[in-house]
């Protein structure tokens, strides 16, 4: 079996070609923070949280494949500074108010802020006006809390096969939509499976009726489904 030898934080590691830096790190118990990455879904490198240093270049660990002799640094001062700024930008561009969020205590963004040591957001908050869509009978989307990681889009397309969720607009105006930007309750392709809610890392996609800090997600569900299908 072909092997690739790399170095992560000075440690020699043998892995298989075609693996990503993130795969190799996880296989060896090296922690790289992630947000848009979810086992079972295609990696897209949307959030940039998993950046690492490959000989002075910053690349996303989830979308960069290992190569023979690659030297990767996951935890330098520069990597930590960039990662923290990326998380601050995520906070600044939404309205991520944890104090009355149903996902508080079970939120990957809230946890990331702790992990990267975010003391405060050093850039002015954008305080955007976003639309809440509560037209679906069981779920709602609070776009104030969306980080546009695209997990819902990928879970809906790749696992459920419904392709209800997609992106609209570009740049900082980008947002997730259902069908051709109709209210979720009117989206004909939605099967109501709820995978989008389970994979959403924040309080953007939630069950109706959940109260403050009550919502807990099950993002592992797509990894189980993907794993079982790969044996099909």
């Amino acid at each position: 079996m072909e092997r690739v030898t790399i170095k992560i934080d000075g440690r020699g590691i043998a892995t298989s070609p075609g693996r990503t830096i993130l795969d190799a790190a996880e296989e060896n118990g090296i922690r790289i923070p992630t947000l848009c990455h979810l086992k079972g879904l295609t990696d897209v490198g949307a959030c940039r949280v998993c950046i690492v240093d490959v000989r002075g270049q910053f690349v996303t660990a989830c979308t960069t494949n290992v190569a023979e002799g690659m030297e990767i640094l996951t935890d330098t001062e520069a990597v930590r500074a960039h990662r923290r700024m990326i998380v601050e930008l995520l906070f600044a561009e939404g309205n991520h108010v944890c104090s009355f969020c149903v996902s508080s205590g079970g939120c990957e963004l809230q946890d990331l802020a702790c992990e990267v040591g975010m003391q405060s957001v050093r850039i002015p908050y954008a305080f955007p006006r976003n639309r809440v869509d509560a037209s679906h009978p069981r779920f709602l989307i609070d776009r104030d809390r969306c980080v546009v990681c695209g997990r819902c889009v990928r879970a809906c397309g790749e696992i459920e096969g419904a392709r209800t969720w997609d992106f609209a607009e570009r740049g900082s105006a980008v947002r997730v939509i259902t069908d051709l930007d109709v209210d979720w309750g009117q989206a004909e392709t939605c099967t109501g499976c709820g995978k989008c809610v389970d994979v959403c890392p924040t309080g953007a996609l939630v069950l109706k009726g959940a109260s403050n800090a009550e919502m807990r997600k099950k993002p592992d569900v797509v990894a189980h489904l993907a794993e079982r299908r790969s044996h099909g």
């Binding site: 906070f91 309205n95 991520h96 108010v97 944890c98 104090s99 009355f100 969020c101 508080s104 205590g105 809230q110 802020a113 702790c114 992990e115 040591g117 975010m118 003391q119 405060s120 957001v121 050093r122 002015p124 908050y125 305080f127 955007p128 006006r129 800090a213």
Partner: protein, 178 residues
């Protein structure tokens, strides 16, 4: 040993952070021996001391003209400023009005004939700023204590570190918002 001069302030917030400060229970007795509490919602001293303080803890976001004046005074006259709680750190709930016109909002809430005959008492109450800001958007802030409210133990940890002349180390779950 000279007592450490401490002030606390309350801007746009719910007083929950001050409640959490009081929740440090018996630690208050230790603090009483070591601090000289100057102006604070907890005392009757209304004016910020002319000769300044060592530490000022500020709860709440900067939402009106009075807050803006007071926060600048506090910065000028304090060696250390601590943003106490999510409103001071992020804007939190008071900042939900950002993105709406503050004049329209105050008219809608306080300007109806049922509540005030349509008259707004701007001669006696401070005017709202167009945008609610976290403290650090207005003045340099030395330490950020997260939480809505911050847990009592976290507040005690920060105050005791400052009294000992140490830098409070805020890491991991200390940094949890909400």
């Amino acid at each position: 040993m000279a007592k450490v001069r401490v002030a606390t302030m309350w801007f746009s917030g719910c007083a929950g952070c001050h409640m959490s400060l009081l929740d440090i229970d018996e630690t208050l007795i230790d603090l009483a021996a070591r601090i000289d509490l100057r102006n604070s919602p907890l005392t009757d001293l209304k004016a910020f001391p002319e000769d300044g303080v060592d530490v000022t803890l500020i709860e709440g976001a900067v939402a009106n003209e009075e807050h803006l004046h007071l926060v600048r005074t506090a910065r000028e006259k304090s060696k250390i400023i601590v943003a106490l709680g999510d409103c001071a750190v992020t804007g939190n709930v008071p900042a939900l009005r950002n993105g709406f016109d503050s004049n329209q909002m105050i008219q809608a809430i306080y300007g109806s004939p049922a509540t005030s005959n349509g008259a707004l008492p701007f001669d006696v109450v401070p005017r709202l700023l167009g945008r609610v800001s976290p403290l650090a958007e207005v003045i340099p802030v030395d330490f950020f204590v997260h939480g809505c409210p911050p847990p009592a133990g976290l507040i005690a940890k920060v105050i005791l570190a400052l009294l000992d002349g140490e830098t409070p180390e805020l890491v991991g779950s200390d940094l949890k918002f909400g």
